[in-house]
């Protein structure tokens, strides 16, 4: 079958991006191959491992289970878009570094995106909410203990950042 290319325009990490790709191009592959954003990792490619998780209009989704053509016109945030514009790591990124929430780092982009959305929705999660929140992401290095610690620490850091910002604007 001759594959008809589609013009795909979407916002990635706040920047308008365009690409020309066949309809079967997965969003994960569009990000990595067409846009050069290799921070999004691809593990299982059928939605089980969670490595490729990105934010679609703010909600975490599997980019390997989404066609780029479907994401056209939407806003995508990848791990490259989590830090502040000046490069300062986000509270979630700082917490993972501080608590050794990663070893090889392959699963980390997916965890960072998942946890960023989790804490935005539930700033002070219970232990159960943390476990449920990250239940769809697999890590083969850490045994998850340090990842759970990282999520709790990220909640503290985000709260402290929020408090500092509130003071600054008061």
């Amino acid at each position: 079958m001759l594959e008809e290319p589609h013009d795909i325009a979407l916002t990635v990490n706040g920047v308008h991006r365009t690409a020309r790709a066949p309809a079967r191009r997965l969003l994960s592959d569009l990000l990595r191959h067409d846009l050069g954003l290799t921070g999004t990792h691809v593990g299982c490619e059928h939605g089980v491992c969670g490595c490729c998780t990105v934010l679609l209009d703010g909600d975490p989704v599997r980019s390997c289970l989404l066609f780029a053509v479907t994401a056209a016109g939407h806003e995508v945030t990848t791990v490259e878009g989590l830090a502040a514009p000046d490069g300062t790591p986000s509270p979630v990124q700082r917490a993972f570094r501080e608590c050794h929430g990663l070893q090889c780092g392959f699963c980390t982009p997916g965890f960072l995106c998942t946890v960023t959305a989790l804490l935005r929705e539930t700033p002070r999660p219970t232990e159960d909410q943390v476990l449920e929140g990250i239940s769809g992401n697999l890590c083969r290095c850490t045994g998850y203990q340090n990842i759970v610690k990282s999520v709790r620490r990220a909640a503290e850091l985000a709260a402290a950042d929020g408090a500092a910002t509130d003071e600054g604007t008061a």
């Binding site: 309809a23 969670g50 289970l65 239940s135 992401n137």
Partner: protein, 291 residues
């Protein structure tokens, strides 16, 4: 792996979507894609075309009324799960949705898509079957309403013909003095269940059981609904109801569990959901009586 090539249609209106589906009998509908895209990525499916309904106006409805919850084809699991209104009218939606894969999958997957996928191990088909819900099906030829017991024909085999689009599903409200419960057993949280059960139990004002029904997933080719009112009796003998169920189920063995283990789970889950549903009915009665 990567999906095989397909022609891609992104209709903006229902009419346009139905025309495209009518013109190509082997086209597949793409909504949330959380079951279809893995099948494509693993090359277990190779449809000639995909009709991406994500931009079709009017399909993202979630309408909650006293008589039930109408869920449109683009209503994501997460949205239905988080709707307190929907949960109040038909609690089984929320109770079952918590068990559907993981939160991130539920952000994208749709309730109607799960029904149309008709996986016998999935939660929502069992819920629709238990509460006597319906699926609204549209095609270029017209519309029809299909009852749950006619919709699930076999494993992965819904009553959808080429050209059909499941546009919404209706989950009737839980009747008064009735409680509901859902439970399942899986190897890992979020995995497909080895077995699962949903139940409703209704009580009269003298606390006699007037209805006890359960639906099962993972133990038959389609959602299995059993009326356990007689087996449980007016006093609610849940052990007797469980024993009755054990004689009725013929689960299959696979790599994950033996048939005997699945049957055992079915009995355990039956007692668990009936007890929990009865407790819910009792709470509902007490609330209605204001004590």
């Amino acid at each position: 792996m990567k999906p095989p090539p397909f022609r891609y249609h992104a209709p903006r209106t229902l009419e346009e979507a139905l025309d495209v589906l009518a013109a190509d009998p082997s086209a597949k509908v793409l909504a949330g894609g959380q079951s279809l895209v893995p099948l494509l990525n693993m090359r277990l499916a190779a449809p000639s075309a995909l009709v991406d309904i994500n931009r079709v106006a009017g399909l993202d409805v979630l309408r909650v009324r006293d008589d039930g919850v109408r869920v449109g084809a683009l209503a994501r699991h997460a949205r239905v799960e988080r709707s307190a209104e929907a949960g109040a009218v038909q609690p089984l939606l929320r109770l079952a949705l918590r068990h559907v894969a993981h939160p991130v999958i539920r952000n994208r997957g749709t309730v109607v898509g799960s029904l149309a996928h008709a996986d016998p191990a999935a939660e929502l088909p069992a819920v629709l079957a238990l509460v006597g819900g319906t699926v609204e099906v549209a095609s270029a030829a017209g519309r029809r309403t299909v009852r749950a017991d006619a919709f699930f024909r076999g494993p992965l085999e819904p009553a959808l013909e080429p050209g059909d689009l499941a546009v919404s599903a209706f989950f009737p409200a839980l009747p008064p003095r009735t409680g509901a419960a859902f439970a399942e057993t899986s190897r890992r949280h979020g995995d497909y269940a080895l077995a699962g059960a949903a139940a409703t139990v209704a009580l009269d004002r003298d606390l006699r059981v007037t209805s006890a029904r359960a639906a099962y997933l993972g133990v038959a080719a389609t959602p299995l609904v059993l009326d356990l009112t007689g087996a449980a009796g007016p006093a609610g003998d849940w052990a007797a109801a469980s024993a009755h169920v054990l004689e009725r189920v013929e689960p299959e063995a696979d790599i994950h569990a033996s048939a005997d283990y699945r049957r055992h789970l079915t009995g355990v889950l039956t007692a668990r959901v009936l007890r929990a549903a009865a407790a819910g009915a009792l709470r509902d009665l007490r609330k209605a009586e204001g004590c």
